[in-house]
């Protein structure tokens, strides 16, 4: 674990993006960026890997689609067939048009809800979890770059001061030492 953590605070997303690019160009490792809203282009500037949530969403959608087919077949054909509008429910395929809205809705339902749940799990979020952001203002109007480092504090500060920074804070990390 690095011994020091630096927090650089910005008040504008463009300034933040600019700073991230400069810090990355100087080969510093950015651990985390806290922003009140998604900043366009930030993930590219940070060099994050592409999200795989899209493919999970597709898989969940397929599951929802299949679930709807199974469910409507069970409810309307197998368990309790009813004659609706002169269309006796003896065959799934002949009643299929009536089930399309349900297939559509459950596809969307599964894709959306399971994707959100996946996102929560992947981001290690659950109910009653304590907030991790070091500064509550980052949920309001401030942007924060977190850098953990060992080496020369002055040099890093000098670099960050060149960006349009509002405030810089350096914390000494608690040593986890079991000696």
């Amino acid at each position: 674990m690095s011994e020091k953590t630096l927090h650089a605070i910005y008040d504008d997303d463009d300034k933040l993006l600019d700073a991230v690019k400069k810090i990355k160009a100087a080969k510093y490792e950015i651990d985390e960026v806290y922003t009140p809203f998604p900043v366009h282009g930030l993930e590219k500037a940070l060099g994050l890997k592409d999200t795989r949530i899209a493919i999970t969403s597709f898989i969940y959608g397929c599951i929802g689609f299949c679930f709807a087919i199974w469910m409507m077949n069970y409810i309307m054909i197998l368990d309790w067939p009813q004659n609706i509008g002169g269309k006796p429910s003896f065959s799934y395929i002949e009643n299929m048009p009536a089930f399309v809205p349900i297939m559509f809705e459950l596809t969307v339902f599964f894709a959306a809800h399971l994707m959100v749940i996946t996102f929560y799990l992947r981001s290690k979020l659950w109910p009653f979890k304590k907030a991790e952001n070091p500064m509550p203002e980052t949920t309001d109007d401030k942007f924060l770059i977190e850098i953990k480092f060992d080496g020369n504090e002055k040099e890093l500060k000098k670099l960050i001061n060149k960006t349009d920074v509002l405030d810089i804070k350096v914390h000494i990390n608690k040593k986890i030492n079991h000696e």
Partner: protein, 436 residues
Amino acid sequence: MYKLTKNIKIFSFSLMIIGLVGLGYGFYTAPHSIEESKAIVASNSHGEHTSDHSEDINELDHKDDEHSVSHDEHVYHQLSNRPWSALYVAALFFFLISLGTLAFYAIQRASQAGWSPVLYRVMEGITGYLFPGSIIIIIFLILCTLHLNHLFIWMDPDVVEHDKIIKAKSGYLDSQFFIARAIFYLLGWNLYRYFSRKFSIAQDKSKDISNHKKNFKISAGFLAFFIVTESMMSWDWIMSLDPHWFSTLFGWYVFASMFVSGITVIALLTIFLKSQGYLSKVNHNHLHDLAKFMFGVSIFWAYLWFSQFMLIWYANIPEEVTYFITRIEDYSLPFWGMLVTNLIFPFLVLMNSDYKRINWFIVTTGIVILIGHYIDFYNMIMPSTVGDQWYIGVPEIGGILFFGGLFIYIVLNTLTKAPLEPSGDPLFKESEKFVY
């Protein structure tokens, strides 16, 4: 500025000539009397259908001879309608591509879109076909009212006389009123196209943005005019082919079809121009947005298709359901096939964000979408005019080639008339820098 190459000229003119020959062949081989039509039907049904048909005919003969005679006349009309319908479907399809593009263009103007100004001239090029297309359509419709064909059966006073339902609608379905309405719509659309193009070119050299503002105003006005007249156009030109049947969302359905075809042609033409070294300011971000529209509007089309289908299927009212029964029984391949080309294929191929930026993905999907929407119009028009005597053969393909060639020539020729970059547009810079 785009320069028309010799190859393009040769290509489009040869398409037109081949198409014209195909159409001519269609008119030449169409039956000119009931006897000829009987001979054609007999020669066509030598194959596997022979047994079914002869049984049907025998049954009819037993019932009454009069019915069989009227059946023969009916088939004769259908067969002689075929070349006309083939011409009409193709003429309407390419005209509506240009109209759909015009609507898309007006939406960009009225919403002051920041991403699309680099593509304005491409869209204006496609809408260049609007005027020639309008002339062709209006001549065609006038020929229909002159009883040169039997596409619109309500134009025949003899049919109206014996048909209560059409008689009740005869106030609206009246030949002169029909032509007057058509002229009214076409005039309105062409006026918008003329002035928006004029202001767009004037904006290139002007120092203030007054032309841009004027374009904004007339675009908003046009959209209000368009959505009403487009709906009425679809009732007049397509839905009235089946004068007993009606659907309240038909206008939207036709709109979705022309809209997605128009956007697809914008994307294809943009890729073509880029491959020729033009449009240096257009990059994959703009194409990505076009592909998103192709994807989204394909789903929108399917939504409207299904809304129309499911309500009629569920209600099961005889006079409504006959529309789909004709199409499912006689046209099952094009009818279900177009769901694959217009929904499932673009849905699966263009779903992935990265694929929307790859040219050959867009081109492949675009071609499939265009074929699918041609078939969509085919399914709207042919069952009402030729019934089960359909086939995608020489006259149909001839129609596509002729109007396709004309469309390509006029669109590319329009592109030569103005710089490809509307550099005076106040949103041009924003569009240039646009990043998805």
